[in-house]
C-alpha cells in the first residue's frame, strides 16, 4: 500500500474508532449524536491520514513523519474541540489528546510500513 493510501485507510479506521469511543462516555446526548460524531471523526482521520501519508512520501524521516502526523491531527482535533467549545462543550483535552495520538500512530505507520514507489527512470 502506498504511503498516502495507507494514511488514508488508517486515518479513516482510527478516526471512526476514535469517534465510536464516544459511546462509552454514556451520556444520552452523545449517543443521540453518535452518527454525526463518527462521520466527523472519520472525515477528520481521512484528511489528516492522507496528508500524513503524502508527507511520508515526500520526507523519509520517522521522527519528522511522527511529528507531522501529531501536528496535523492535533490541529484538526483543536478545530473540532474549538467548535464544540463554541457550543458550550469545552472538551479540549478529551478531544485533542487521543486525536493527536491517532496522528502519531498514522505518522509512524506511514513512515515505517508504507510503500514508496520507485522513482521514474530518467528519460
Amino acid at each position: 500500500m502506498t504511503k498516502p493510501v495507507l494514511g488514508l485507510v488508517l486515518g479513516g479506521v482510527l478516526g471512526a474508532f476514535d469517534g465510536l469511543t464516544a459511546l462509552f462516555s454514556g451520556g444520552p446526548e452523545v449517543k443521540a449524536q453518535i452518527v454525526g460524531i463518527v462521520i466527523g471523526s472519520t472525515f477528520k482521520g481521512l484528511v489528516a491520514g492522507v496528508l500524513t501519508g503524502w508527507f511520508a512520501r515526500k520526507v523519509n524521516s520517522l521522527a519528522l513523519g511522527m511529528l507531522f502526523g501529531l501536528s496535523v491531527a492535533a490541529l484538526f482535533a483543536f478545530l473540532v474541540a474549538w467548535n464544540q467549545a463554541a457550543h458550550g462543550e469545552p472538551y479540549y483535552l478529551a478531544i485533542m489528546l487521543p486525536g493527536s495520538l491517532v496522528g502519531l500512530i498514522v505518522g509512524y505507520t506511514t513512515q515505517r510500513y508504507g510503500f514508496r514507489p520507485a522513482p521514474e527512470p530518467a528519460k
Binding site: A22, S25, L93, A94, P98, L101, V102, I105, Y108
Partner: protein, 317 residues
C-alpha cells in the same frame, strides 16, 4: 667473533624470504600475511603508482603442482567479477620460477577479528548476507569455494565484505577454456583427487572431510556457511537462528538448504522479523515474534487506549 642477535637473524630471514620482483612491475612495500601456500605482500604497482596485494607462492611449495594450483586460483578469481570477491589484476612468474598474482589491496580486518569487537547481531548477519551473495554468485558461475570460514572473509574499512582465498575452489560445469584446461582430469594439479582432504576442520562438510570429491557441490559451501554463521552468532542466539545453522550444517547434503540463496533468504527473513523456513513456529513463538516486529506500533496503540481509558475514568469522556 661477534654473534648476531635474534632480532638481526629474524630481520635477515625476513629479507631473504622476500620475493625477487625483478622483471615485474611491482616492488615490495611490506609483508601482509602468510597462508599455507602463499605469502601476501603489499606491493607498489609502479606503472600506475598504486598499492596492490601480491600473493607469491612460498619457496617451500615451489613445485609444479603448487604453481599450477596457484595459477588456477588466480584464473578462478579472475572469472568472478563481483563486489564481494577480491579482483585479480595480474598473474605472472618471478625470476626464480615462482608464481605470483596481484589483486586489489583491501584495508580492513578478517571477519573473525572484526567481530572480536562486540557488534550488534543485525550487523553481523548483514555481513553474513553479503558473504552469501558473493558465494551464490560464484556458484552461479560453477565455482565452489570449499574453504569458507571467517578467516577467509575480509571486512574493509568502508564496510565492504570480500570473500578471499579461492585456492581450494572447485570448478564445475564451466566451459571457460582457461578454467576447463586446468580442471580437466584427475591427474591435473589444482583439481582435487578423490580421497584428498582439503579444507578447515570445523567448517568442512562431512563429504569434504571424507575427501569425497564426487559428492561435493554447492551444498558443501552451504555447510561451511552454516559453520560461519554459528561462529558469528552468540550461544544464546534466538531459536530460529539456531535452526538456520542446524539446517545448513546437516550431515546429509540433501537435508541442507538447496542453495546459498535459500540460506541467505532465510537469514534475511529472520532479520526482517519474518518466519524462517527452518523453524516451524508455535503460536506462542509467532505471537512473540510479531510483538517484537511491531513493538512500536503496538506501544502507540496501547498508549492511545490507556489515554482513552483514563479520559473516560476521570473526565467521563
Amino acid at each position: 667473533m661477534k654473534w648476531l642477535s635474534d632480532s638481526a637473524i629474524a630481520r635477515l630471514r625476513a629479507v631473504a624470504d622476500l620475493p625477487d620482483l625483478r622483471g615485474t612491475r611491482y616492488e615490495i612495500v611490506e609483508p601482509l600475511g602468510r597462508g599455507g601456500m602463499g605469502a601476501v605482500y603489499v606491493a607498489q604497482y609502479r606503472e600506475l603508482d598504486r598499492k596492490v596485494a601480491l600473493k607469491v607462492l612460498v619457496a617451500a611449495h615451489s613445485g609444479a603442482d603448487a604453481a599450477l594450483r596457484m595459477r588456477r586460483e588466480a584464473h578462478v578469481i579472475a572469472q568472478l567479477e563481483h563486489p564481494g570477491i577480491v579482483p585479480v589484476h595480474d598473474v605472472g612468474t618471478l625470476v626464480d620460477g615462482r608464481i605470483y598474482y596481484a589483486m586489489k589491496l583491501v584495508r580492513g580486518s578478517r571477519l573473525d577479528e572484526h567481530i572480536a569487537t562486540p557488534r550488534p547481531l543485525a550487523e553481523r548477519l548483514r555481513i553474513f548476507e553479503r558473504v552469501c551473495e558473493a558465494v551464490a554468485f560464484a556458484h552461479a558461475h560453477g565455482v565452489i569455494h570449499r574453504d569458507l570460514k571467517p578467516q577467509n572473509v575480509m571486512v574493509g574499512a568502508f564496510g565492504e565484505v570480500l570473500v578471499m582465498d579461492w585456492g581450494l575452489a572447485k570448478v564445475r560445469g564451466d566451459d571457460s577454456p582457461a578454467l576447463a584446461s586446468m580442471e580437466g582430469g584427475a591427474t591435473v594439479p589444482g583439481a582435487t583427487e578423490h580421497g584428498t582432504v582439503l579444507g578447515t576442520p570445523g567448517f568442512m562438510a562431512p563429504e569434504q572431510a571424507r575427501g569425497d570429491v564426487a559428492h561435493m557441490d554447492e551444498r558443501t559451501d552451504v555447510f561451511a556457511l552454516g559453520a560461519t554463521l554459528r561462529f558469528l552468532v552468540d550461544a544464546d542466539a534466538p531459536p530460529p537462528l539456531k535452526a538456520i545453522v542446524r539446517k545448513a550444517m546437516q550431515e546429509e547434503p540433501g537435508d541442507r538448504y538447496a542453495s546459498v540463496d535459500v540460506l541467505r533468504a532465510d537469514v534475511g527473513r529472520f532479520l526482517a522479523g519474518e518466519p524462517v523456513s527452518a523453524f516451524p513456529e508455535s503460536i506462542l513463538v509467532r505471537t512473540r515474534r510479531l510483538a517484537r516486529k511491531y513493538r512500536t506500533a503496538i506501544l502507540l496503540v496501547i498508549a492511545y487506549l490507556v489515554v482513552r481509558a483514563l479520559l473516560l475514568a476521570f473526565l467521563g469522556r
